[in-house]
Every structure is written in C-alpha cells, then in structure tokens.
Symmetry: C2
Subunit: 721 residues, 2 copies
Amino acid sequence: MKRVVSDITKTAGIFILLFVPACLLAEDGYDLWLRYKIVNDAGRLAHYRQTVTGININAASPTLLAAKEELEKGLNGLLGKKLPEHNLLQNGSVMAVKAAASDIVSRVISKELLASSGKEGFIIRSAVVRNKRIIIITGNTDISVLYGVFHFLRILQTQQSLADLAIQSSPSLQLRLLNHWDNLDRHVERGYAGFSIWNWHTLPDYRDPRYKDYARANASVGINGVSLTNVNANAMVLTRPYLEKVAALAAIFRPYGIRVYLTARFSAPIEIGKLSTADPLNDSVQHWWSNKAKEIYSLIPDFGGFLVKANSEGQPGPQNYGRNHADGANLLADAVAPYQGIVMWRAFVYSQQSNDRFKQAYEEFKPLDGQFRKNVLVQVKNGPIDFQPREPFSPLFGAMEKTPLMMEFQLTQEYLGQGTHLVFEAPMFKEVLQADTYVKGKGATVAKVVDGSLYNHSLNGMAGVANIGNDINWTGHLFGQANWYTLGRLAWNYELSSEQIADEWIRQTFNNKAFLVSTVKKIMLSSHEAMVSYMTPLGLHHIMGNGHHYGPAPWSDNLPRPDWNPVYYHRADSAGIGFDRTSTGSNALAQYSAEVRHRYEDPGDCDEKYLLWFHHVSWKHIMKSGRTLWEELCYKYYSGVEQARLMQQQWNQLENDVDKERFEHLRMLLAIQVKEAIWWRNACLLYFQGFSKMPIPSAYEQPDKTLEYYKNLRFPYAPGN
Amino acid sequence: MKRVVSDITKTAGIFILLFVPACLLAEDGYDLWLRYKIVNDAGRLAHYRQTVTGININAASPTLLAAKEELEKGLNGLLGKKLPEHNLLQNGSVMAVKAAASDIVSRVISKELLASSGKEGFIIRSAVVRNKRIIIITGNTDISVLYGVFHFLRILQTQQSLADLAIQSSPSLQLRLLNHWDNLDRHVERGYAGFSIWNWHTLPDYRDPRYKDYARANASVGINGVSLTNVNANAMVLTRPYLEKVAALAAIFRPYGIRVYLTARFSAPIEIGKLSTADPLNDSVQHWWSNKAKEIYSLIPDFGGFLVKANSEGQPGPQNYGRNHADGANLLADAVAPYQGIVMWRAFVYSQQSNDRFKQAYEEFKPLDGQFRKNVLVQVKNGPIDFQPREPFSPLFGAMEKTPLMMEFQLTQEYLGQGTHLVFEAPMFKEVLQADTYVKGKGATVAKVVDGSLYNHSLNGMAGVANIGNDINWTGHLFGQANWYTLGRLAWNYELSSEQIADEWIRQTFNNKAFLVSTVKKIMLSSHEAMVSYMTPLGLHHIMGNGHHYGPAPWSDNLPRPDWNPVYYHRADSAGIGFDRTSTGSNALAQYSAEVRHRYEDPGDCDEKYLLWFHHVSWKHIMKSGRTLWEELCYKYYSGVEQARLMQQQWNQLENDVDKERFEHLRMLLAIQVKEAIWWRNACLLYFQGFSKMPIPSAYEQPDKTLEYYKNLRFPYAPGN
C-alpha cells in the first residue's frame, strides 16, 4: 500500500494515474452527455493514450479558452490522466487552432476545404508534421475550433478510432435555436423539469455555474442561439433592469457561440413605453422600437433578435390595429436591422374564421409571401395543428417561396407524455424533414425548405421548444436529454439518422457496452411509434385533457372555442371517426401540392398513419390488415401498451449495465409510462366504444375501470399549465 | 504505471486504495455537511485507520440498514478505503447495535446509562472486549443507533480524536421539526431556494432520490419530523390521491426516524367533505375529522399529526363559528388522539381588536391556557411580531403554565436577506432560548419553557420554517445550510454554543484547515449582528418592502391594515422614532413578568438593542456611546455595511482554501450582500432623515442615490411571495 501511495505523486512530467471508479460518482444526470468517464475498453484506452499525449492550444480568446477547458476536461477524464500542454508539437499533440493563426494548418488543409467550411464548420485531420504525428482541429473561426473540439471528444466518448482522421463538418442550418417558454416568475409553460433555470432575481450579479454548463451542452451539439422567454411574452423583459440580466447571460454564452434572443410582446410600447398605441405604422411606435433596439444592442452587441407570437391565443399583435403580420414583423425587423438582428415571426395562428383550424396558418400567411423584410423568418410548427404525436407536415412548408421559413419543433413533451414518458423524438422530426412537399417536383423535401436551398434563402434555421428546467438532470425525465441532443444534431446535419443520433447519445450518456447500446437503442427507436399507438393511433389527434394536456379526454367538449375541444378533432359518431379534410370536408388537403393531396385523399389507399387526419371513416371500414377500423383502433391501442411493456422489460434487463441511480430512475418512470399507456388505451376505447357500439375484442385484457372513472379524474396541479 | 495499475485490484480481503482527489468532484453543495471527503490530515487519517478497521452491524431493520449504509459511505469516504464487514469482533471493529440485541453492550454499558438515554439517545464507547479494542455505538432503539452513527461520523469529519470515547447524548426536545411552507403547485411561500422539492405530480410512483438524501440530512442532526405543506393550507392534501403521495414520502423517511405531519385547512370538511359547516362543535364535522384521521392512519400508521394556522391572515378557523382556538385545536386533537397523533396549533394571530399587534397572540391565547387537550401544543413564533432580525421573546413563553408551547423559528430568511445574505441564525436563536422570562424567578429561560421542564410538560418541541427548495444545493445560499443544521443541533441540545455549531458545520461542509475554520467562523458569528445593524438597528422592526418583503421600505403606509405598514412600527416623526410599548404607550411590556418589564421600561437603561421596540425616542436622545439617537442610527447602519464589507474581504482571502465553485458562489453573493446592505442603509437613513432633519455625518460616504430612487424600485417577480 505504501508503495502505491508513494507512486501516486505529482511531479513535473510524470503522468498521474487518477483512479476514479465511476461507481463513486453520483450519476445524477447533471453532466448530460458530457460525462467524460475514463474509457472502459482497455484496447481503446491504450490506443487513445498512444495517439493523444498532449494538448496544444493557445487560449487567445474567450472561445479558445472554452475550447481549451473542454479539451482538458474531456481528455483528462477519458484518458484517466492529466495531459500536459504541448507548446511545441510532439508525437500525439492535439492541436486546436484557427486556420489563420497557424501556418501548419495551411500546409495540411487546402484553401478550398477551409473556404467551404464557412464560419462554423470544422476540420479534424490526422497529420504528420515535422515527423510528428499530430491531430489538427481547425476551422476559419474560433467557434469552429470549439465545435471541432466537441466533435473530437465525441469520437473518444463513442470509442471510435483516432487513426487517420479526415473529418470536415459544417452545419446544414444557420440558426439552430432553443426556445425557452420560461416566464419571469420562473414558471415554465409546458415545462416538466422543475422551473426556469433563469434566476432573474439574482441576475445579473449572481451567475449560476449552471449557465456555463448549459452553454457547453448547447455548443457540444452546435446550438447557437437561445430565446430566453415565453412566446406568451412579458414586456417587462425589455425594461432596463431585465436587459442587464439578459446581458449577463449573453456574456456567459458568448464564448460558446450562442446568441440570445428575446420574445417581444407586441404591446410593449403601451405597457412599458406608455404610448397609447402599438400600431406598427405609427411613427412613435416605430421610434420606440428603434430606441429599444438601440438600448438592447448597447448592452448586447450581438443580440440575435426577436421571436414573436402575435394575434394568437390572446397575444396582442398588428391585427389589433387593422394591420397584418408582415406589418408587425417588419416593424421589429426594421428596428433590429441596423445591428444585423433578425425577427422570427410565428405562424401559429388560428382565428375564428375558418372551418378547420388545420388551414388557418396557411390562410393567414401564404398571402403575405414576399411582404416580409429580408431579416424576417416565419417560424412554422412542424404540423398544422399543434405538436401532436404525429402530424402531417404543415402545408406552409413549400408554399411561401419568397419568405424563409424556420422550423419549430417541440422538445418538451406537452402532448407526448410530459414528464413521465420515454419518447425519442428523432424519428418524428426526421419524418417531417424527409416529407416531400412536391412543390417543385420530387425531392422538394421539408428539409430543403428549411435549409433554404429550395427557394434560395440564406437566412434559415430550426428551433426546438426547450424541455429544460432547474431539475438536477435538466430535463426531468433523463431521456428528455436525448431530444435536446437531437435538436442540435439535426439542426447541424439533418441527414443524420435517428439510429446514429441515438447511438451517439447512448454511448456518451451511458456507456459503450454492446448489450446496453443495442438494448437502449431498441427502446428509443421504438418509443415514438409506441406512444402514437397508445395515445393517438391512425391519425387521431388533439384528444388530451383540457388545460394541462395531461392524460386523455377525448370526450371533452366544453371549452369556449370549438377547435380547443377534442370532439372537434376526432368527430366520433355512430357512423365513424376522423376529420374529413378532403374536398367533401374542409378541403384542407387542397393546401398541399397535387402529389401530396393525391397520396392522402383516397381513404382506400391513404397511409393509415394519417387516415383519421384526413377522413371520417366508418367503424366497419376494412383496413389493410383485414381488421375493421374499430378493431384496428383496438389493435393499435393494445399494441402500444404492449410496446410500452416491452420497453419496460428491456430496460429492466440492464440492471447490471448501468449505475443504480439511473437504473432506478428509469425503472420507476417506465412503470408510470405503462400505467399511463393503459390509462390512455382504456379511456379512449371505452369512450369511442360508445360510438362504435362494438366490443373491445375479448382476447384483450379488458379495462378494469369505467369510463366514468376516467372522466372524473382531475389534476389541478399538473405541471406546466 | 503498470505496477500501480496491477496493485489496484480488488481481491477478497485486500483493502483498496481509492484515490479520489477532492478537486475532481464538483462541490455543488448537494452533499450538504455529509461530504465524507478523505481526511486531509495525515496524522489524523493514520489514527483513524488504525482505530477503525471494520464495521460490525446487522442490518436487521430498515433503520439499521440505513445506519449501515451511512457508516459504510462515511467511513469509506473519510478513510479513503472500503472497510470490510467484521462479523466477528476484531481490533478496530466499530460495532453499531441496539442494546437489547447485544450482550456485549450490557457488559460495557450500565443499565442506568441506557435507561437515561430514552428512545432516541445514543452512547458511543471505546471498549476492550475479549482483548479487542472496539468502538460501540448503541442505544435503546434502532434509531438511537442511527443517531449514534451520525454523531460518530461527525467526530471523524471534524477530525477529533477517536481515543477513549465515552459519549452519551439524548435530545433536549421531543419534537424536532421542519415546517415546509410548500404549496401543492410547488411554489414555496417565502422560499428562496428554487421551488418545492415535493414533486406531487409524479408521486407516489416516482420517488426522487433526493428524498432519501433529505432524510439522511435531517437524521444526521436529529430532526425527527417534517410538516410537508404550507400553513396557508390547501385542503386537497387531505384527499386520498394526495394522502397516497404523502404515504410514499413517509415510507422513505420512516427508517430515518422522521414522521410526517400535514397542515390542516380548518374548512376542509366544507371544501372536500362537502359539509355545510366546519364548526368544531358540530357532530358531523367531528365525524368527518375522525374518519379522515382513520383514513390517514390506515395509510401512514405513524403519521405525526396536524399543524394548523387558523383565524390568521385570512385562514379559516373556529372563530368563524364563534368558537375559540381551543375548540378548534381539540377538534383535531380528538381525531388523532386514538393514534397517538398530536396537534400543533399556531399562535400567530392578530385580529383587529388591539392597539398593538405585539400584544395579540398573548391576548388571544393566554386566556385559553389549560383548555387544550393534552396532545396539543401551541406553536409560538420566537417573537411577538413576525421573525424580525431581532425580536424580544414572545411574552407567551412562560405565560401559559398548563399548555405545552412549541418554539417556531424561521430558517428561511424572509426578513433576513432572503436568498442573498449570509446570516448565521444560531446566535439569534440562542438569544431567544437563553432569555430569562422570570416567570418563576431567575432562570426560567425560554429554553426551559420550550423543553417542558419549567411547567413539567413531556410534550415539547421546536420547529424551523424550512429554507429548502429544489436548488441543487437545497438552500439557494450555501450558508442557508448552516441554519438547517443549526435547527437540528439546537433542538437536540440547546446548550450548544453558536461557536460550536459553526465549528462543526464548517469542518464538515468545507474542511478542517485552521485558517479556513477560524475565518469562516468569524464571518458566521458576526453575520447576524451585521445584518441587524444594516437593516433594523436599535430595535427597529418590520420596515421591509410590501408583499415580497425584499429590501427596505420604511416609508410604506398604503396597505389596508395599519399593522401591515412599516410606518406603524417605526412611528418616525419630528420628535423621534420607535414604538412606545410602556405604560405610556401600548403597554405591551405588561405582558412580561415584572423583572423583564423593569429591564426595558426605562429608555435610559433599556438594552439599546431593543430600545425602539419599546420606546418612542427623541432624535436627540443621548445614547450610551455619547452619540445622539440619530447619530447612533447612522453609526449602526454604516457599521453594518462595514461589517458586511469585512465579511466579504474575509471570504475573499479564502480563495486557496476552498474549492473554486463554492469560492465563486460566495464571492458573488457577498458582493450582492454588500450592495443590498448599502441599499438598506441609504434608503432608511434618507427616509428617516426627513424626520430627524439632521444630516448623515459627513465623514460617512454619502448615499449616491436619492430617496425617490429607492421609493421607485419595484420587484414584481421577487421570489417567495
């Protein structure tokens, strides 16, 4: 023992073996996918230690300092020893440097490759320079270097080879944002992970170390912007005391390449400016916003711009003054344009004038195409209703040729099981991005609309409504982290497959053991379809509980607006179920291109996943399986529950493969998920049975509660509401 | 290196050296004072390793399992190695066992000593048994053993000697409670540490690991009960779904000797029982509570009982039906008596009928002395107003001979700087406990009232309004933990000095380095008086901002009840300042015994700390220092700020003595504290100057803002409101 103790001494040049058994360190989820545990494969560890012997990076800017810190933290953890700095290159140096700051880079990397990397892309290259085998991490800017460092560390965390690296990666999209729906009182709308991480009261002077770790996590997946406040906006965030708090956050994020954005309450000129109007065409209103922008940019020179929800669900907007969305957006766009700011104007609107909420965003926005300033994007939810478990893509994608459209996904699981369901969203996002709009022939995918390539827009982007809160593990349900991770990875490269994203996340978040990786991957990749099956199969949508949106309430019909009520969406009656959106119904399908319309308009060959989105179908309609619609509905709901049980069983096999804490966390949550899946199944089938007048096939376990029981459940304190 | 690696292998019987440098592990405050870091003094470590070589404990109950887990966790961390189990005693065995379960114990420990240890007291004894040097941790019950284990680990954490241990310790008080003011929506009233740790929505099925660590922390300082919900009660917690959630928490706490209590909304029979009345003398109301108790105890057999706020600040109560507090308390007491439950009925009342709020609790409760059931305690705030930075002790202490009085302290710093001020409360609590009521001659201290010894009450206790929330470090401000720690230690033994409590806490929370311990101790021990000086010196009280109670607002006079307004309390006018509570004023002093009254009734020799509590004093009154009252006021405010600056400077010296994370945490918070101290000083003096018409002495740094500036500050989202 004494010999061991005396060996473990730190002297110049001697590597220290820091033996830190993973079991001692609590896996509370705080470290997300940046855990940097010592590589647990002896062969890989040896390869890494041989290939990487020191760090060469000049922390000449805050971003490069961040890169250096990350490289040290990552490599020291992964390699299990403190790597020295290599001021002179040696065998095994990892050199992280901006291209213009190093002539070595220009010798190794071609000008063309660098030019094609743009402002954020990075290059990682194994090279022999002056007979030294080194690894170069580079790009055109400091932030490229930081992104390259994160990618490099991901290679080690996922135990890939470091031999002959030749990586070039640039982001698909320019704007890669999180949208927090955080209120100033720290309540998070549709939040299931505790409360807002922004502690406004103690900002700007108290800067919680979480903010830096938040920035690191985002930078690790290339997220480069965050809108801090709820789209149901509060003008107070635009007042000076709050702007100073925002500036403090911006300063923490800036080295990580992250800009801050704020939601702009359209009536702010009245509420805080004490003007009598907020009419976008009014001079003093324009001056007010112009001065406000000046004030903001004096505090935050790289402020990103505004995100706006207007004339939607009670939010004020230009229509209050007889103006249109373009007038409103342009007002703000002009205010921030001198500072290269942008406006993201949300298309989530549904006024009273349509016979189908599905159609309203398109009806309000398409006529405005081309009327927006060039620094405006219209931000569109992936589907035409509201983040349902499955939605057809919004018909606005491809319909507005002259306007850049920004994709809005929802990471927080408002309709996808909230805080208690494991649902990996990548397959759902991919389904949308890969959907073909056919607006310019085949191949005009939603992704090509969003990345601007279809209609040649350089301003482009994607946003995810955040699922982050002040819970220790950031997302409440541990697997919520995977959706945060996914948003970044897809916004960087939407060609990545769900499987690859899951694979990366699992290896970094848990470990690289083959059985664990394959089992968790199965769980994740099956989770979305399972959830659709036990909640809203066959194209059902919007049948959740009022207000809190927790649990099923397909019977609900008492809210003031018809299109807030589940009955509006499923339209169950004695004849059948589903919403006719063909030309015999609301004709929402007409908003799509002809090819898309044709795919869905015939109930006989409509993809059954969307059947009830577009058709009111007889209970006796024969499905492709040969079952009647009613039987198929039962089959789907019951299958969904079985899939949830399978997920639970698969997880329970992993007791020896993951740490106790996270094993228990998932064990408890998956048990809740199965219970809630059964609740959805029973409540929905018992209710719909009242219309189908057909029994739940007796081979299935029958519901052990009554419809009345389910109807009487109340959750006055369900979170996020 | 290879040799080192091969040495670090785990084989049966070989101790493993787990080298875990503290610097690698984030000091985020989560582990509170139970960090169990390897002992950093080589001599002490050697002594411990020689003296403690293994653990002998039979985990024959959940409590003993908890004790075993803690002993292992603690010793393995502190000694830096995994200790083996000693099934047979050896030299160095630590034997933790209930007395009745071990004949060794009866050989070593006398019957008398065991008998005097009661149900919770523990004994720790070094002994030689069969020629083996062992340490025995014992007591009459499993929970005594657990308490003994925590004390034992504290000895090592504070680096005391393990030689010749002969410790016996029993608690001073029977009930040692935390009172959470947590709402069901997770907002915490007067909470500055995030939001409620109780995640009701996912209980009972999701049991957050924090609950267990919460239980450990409480058990480590002997806290044996927790009231989960806000005294501004919500009847819903008494409904079945919530009782099941409460039962889940109770199950986690039970092994740690912690019972759960709930706040009872007096109108619950109406709100959830659908009765038409809540009259305590009504049969159906009595039946309702009786059935409710039966339901609770069927789920939670050791449910502690109810905590009640009634007919106070809008809460319903017996007076709504023309009944009195005793009627109300007895209603509930009868309901829980069959199950050995208790009722803690709060005396925090102030109806409209008095000329001085100070007097009202006494006026309402003293006449009821002797009318309460024997399982009722009247819970009394330490002072007669409301948890001010300094209050004279409540005149109820000693005034109710026939009724057990429970002390209610406030840990959460509602009036003591909220989330941003370092204030160690032990000196303040001690000041109250040591105060002599003189109701039965000299020595009739408040402590003797509270521990029941003055009037022979076996039912006795102390409660602290919790400062705990879902922030990672539990209390927001790291030093809030010290106040949680203090409540437990004082409730266990109120004779402990503030210095000893601080010493223990510092050594366990930070480290045992002499410079750090002495410096942090200075900071802590000076903090309360500093805060009194920069907020409310010389007996000023209740001059804070409306609603949120954040910051100063001595000018405030616009709330509907006069005794909600600061002006009511300081009564500043051209003649002077302060509240005359002598016979020429409200005569509140008459509520005390003659000796106490005499000590305060003469402004010439009244302890100046309380001067303005009891007297309206001329601005020109000459103080003991020779300064006028106005000058003394300035002197106090300015000294307070200087003391805060000194605390800040003292902390800033510790950069090399504490981890970076907590150094920064305190650095930022102390800077805020100084800023806020200046704010208090300036706002109060600028305002009072309007009455004194005298200048702030020019030698002092003059306020750099105007009174108008301070009056116009608004904090619509200050936490805890």
